[in-house]
Symmetry: C2
Subunit: 521 residues, 2 copies
Amino acid sequence: MNSDPDREYPVDGDGGQQEMVLTRKNAVLVDGVILNGPTTDAKAGEKFVEEACRLIMEEVVLKATDINEKVCEWRSPEQLKQLLDLEMRDTGEPHHRLLELCQDVIRYSVKTNHPRFFNQLYAGLDYYSLVARFMTEALNPSVYTYEVSPVFLLVEEAVLKKMIEFIGWKEGDGIFNPGGSVSNMYAMNLARYKYCPDIKEKGLSGLPRLILFTSAECHYSMKKAASFLGIGTENVRFVETDARGKMIPEELEKQIGQARTEGAAPFLVCATSGTTVLGAFDPLEEIADICERHGLWLHVDASWGGSALLSRKHRRLLQGIHRADSVAWNPHKMLMAGIQCCALLVKDKSDLLKKCYSAKASYLFQQDKFYDVSYDTGDKSIQCSRRADAFKFWMTWKALGTLGLEERVNRALALSRYLVEEIKKRAGFKLLMEPEYANICFWYIPPSLRVMKEGPEFWEKLNLVAPTIKERMMKKGSVMLGYQPHRGKVNFFRQVVISPQVSREDMDFLLDEIDLLGRDM
Amino acid sequence: MNSDPDREYPVDGDGGQQEMVLTRKNAVLVDGVILNGPTTDAKAGEKFVEEACRLIMEEVVLKATDINEKVCEWRSPEQLKQLLDLEMRDTGEPHHRLLELCQDVIRYSVKTNHPRFFNQLYAGLDYYSLVARFMTEALNPSVYTYEVSPVFLLVEEAVLKKMIEFIGWKEGDGIFNPGGSVSNMYAMNLARYKYCPDIKEKGLSGLPRLILFTSAECHYSMKKAASFLGIGTENVRFVETDARGKMIPEELEKQIGQARTEGAAPFLVCATSGTTVLGAFDPLEEIADICERHGLWLHVDASWGGSALLSRKHRRLLQGIHRADSVAWNPHKMLMAGIQCCALLVKDKSDLLKKCYSAKASYLFQQDKFYDVSYDTGDKSIQCSRRADAFKFWMTWKALGTLGLEERVNRALALSRYLVEEIKKRAGFKLLMEPEYANICFWYIPPSLRVMKEGPEFWEKLNLVAPTIKERMMKKGSVMLGYQPHRGKVNFFRQVVISPQVSREDMDFLLDEIDLLGRDM
């Protein structure tokens, strides 16, 4: 291996001194490098891109909707390392070899586009967002200043405006960022800044303990955020939920009172609209009342459930969301905008986002530019370079219209409803609870357990069922869905329906397949 | 407009109640939605993707290297809003209209691939990373668990290992994340956790003030990070630099002593390898000595300069980097991996990253999986869903080999050297200082100012030159480079050389063009 970085190779001639040679053919050499003309072979590069695009089209896009394809081609990490040529060497590989590598990468990657991929809160293939994503990659923008990203900044502004409209605010502000977890961090910091702007300069040292409240069913990013922001996970108070996983408002109010008694400083309530496991929606109106009474910032983590706002039939799930101070909403989930497409939306229009986040870098956000620098929105961000994530959602919205997006949400929830009814009909399947949204949580009880009483032994054995079936389905490659233990409940499946490429036949298949793979247990 | 979200439309029939109808043709209806078969027209969608790919190929990829194309087609925000049809409506647009929209988006976007785009610390078109990026978009992975992202997790592991090797560590850990700013936050939080692990649970309240040190030339993300993490911007101590922009080690040691006298708690030194404006490299060996003496975590922000590690000729700029505890390095800058491709690398191998960041979400990181769950690396991240950013860098490395990457770095720096020599030769151009790296900072002094003494009036007038020329070049669309005032120096140009598509002819053009656009001033 020649690439040992500590080994000093004889460098060409002058050992670091600058030379500049003008040869006969007018070639300019500096440090042994010819500087005339570009060095890359653009024609060969372009041909490679074209060939790879054909491969991607054939092997990924065209096969995405084909249920005869496998969802995954399982290999263990050890096997996969053998199969893939991962090592980066001193010399490069020729194009035909790179295309083989691409083929391997596709082959062994999980097909998250597949109609039977139900493993996460995203799935399916949206042709419009895909095109927007290809364009973004080709144009390679960074969205911080209007001079570098004129189109993408205006698109972001338009998309945020529309999302704000659907939340029900008259006006507002917002920013696309890399994930619901990061959106929640933005909100937490913003609420803290509103509570005490001095924290930006002075930090938390010497202040009373800041306390925030969220439901016991919230996303784990709340803990990550509290730890990252220096608040501490112990200062996240988890409010008890009802049987459906919804925060109990009375419990929230009790906890706020208790925190005050302790001398701590409550500053934020995070409600969840669409919890990760159960798909539960917290009662926003009642929580908003409490926040108003106690002067607390209300953040709604609608990363998953926010898309229901587009459905006139289902937006009642988020009744009261217009009373929130901030909202996290990820169109990359149910609206299929592609990983990642996540917005933090803020009701305030006094430029709170900018005041809280700005660092006024003079090399990037010059104030003597020849255009209106209020379009240089990058200083609202914790990032410097930032991707044009709003654009892919915009493209889908342009293509389908609001009504088309609404239809997607309605269809996903109708399919969920269908699955629920099928589960009720079938022997050996047992719902955890009636779902409100697209998370259908259920146990599969194999024949041998159906005759047992629901005692400790039953639950212990049932706990092993979902992991075993999951292993079998992945090794077969027929379908993927998630399972988990959850708050005292042993391992159960969580089925999530999103994609319009999914049909009721896939729902039937799912249940048949689970039964087929688990009936010997 | 039909999309007023507050207006409740008559919903189909049952007003929310669940109905399930089995019609003659075996069509299953739930809530008025037919659930049989997929609803999307895959053929039409695929055709649209194919047509759009052709457009992207022709209008972006093939034109990327063409210097006869404009770098930008400037329009003011107001004009651009008129030209683009940004509004999202109730009904969707047909494919031919969407393709026109794509064409408009391309037309008015800045061509960051263009050989004469020198505006930021990224530029150019890398065909290999572009292919990897197209693949990532088509496969739409989220990199948190092996079951969902087997290939991309192994690729990330391989790339991190290689980067660690080039830093000069025997082993280490790391994570790709959305930007150098975020990498710096990761490092700051990690150093804080190492200093006092209790902060994760208890937060900063009641603790002495944590203090960190960085150079006065550091990236603005240091301030953003300190504010976001609850440390406070006042607790970032900026250490004075020498005339070339390098941190003065004696000043660092003085500041550490002073902080201790104040009763504050120093915990971190951030050195910069390749500052944003001047491209300066802090003296790492001397800074590492000081960190060792005082027991402080040493983080090196090599977001920009890290790529010099691949050049045997230039890696001496980062002499001593192996002594760092953590390093931020963005291959999307000089190595052209595409926005974003950023790694935080950590020397520790006691699983510090995981201990510091884990939240152990049981729905995602189940411990009873059938494979080795140490491959589920997502719990090291502050994000939940995460993009496969390592893959694009891996593809370029596979294609070019280490030697090809080295050649890129060497060529960019040789071209910079060429430009420096040209600037020295030409009347009216004045270097700020001899550069170490690919940032060439200089003033253009128009003829009318060349006869003036360098007094207040001269500087005042010179301050207007760069913004005016920038406006002219953008309106003409011929070239883009940045300018800024900086630490008492009036507005000057910062030229950055990266792409192998750039030639010495482009350097000559740049200087000619500035002179052409500014000689009447």
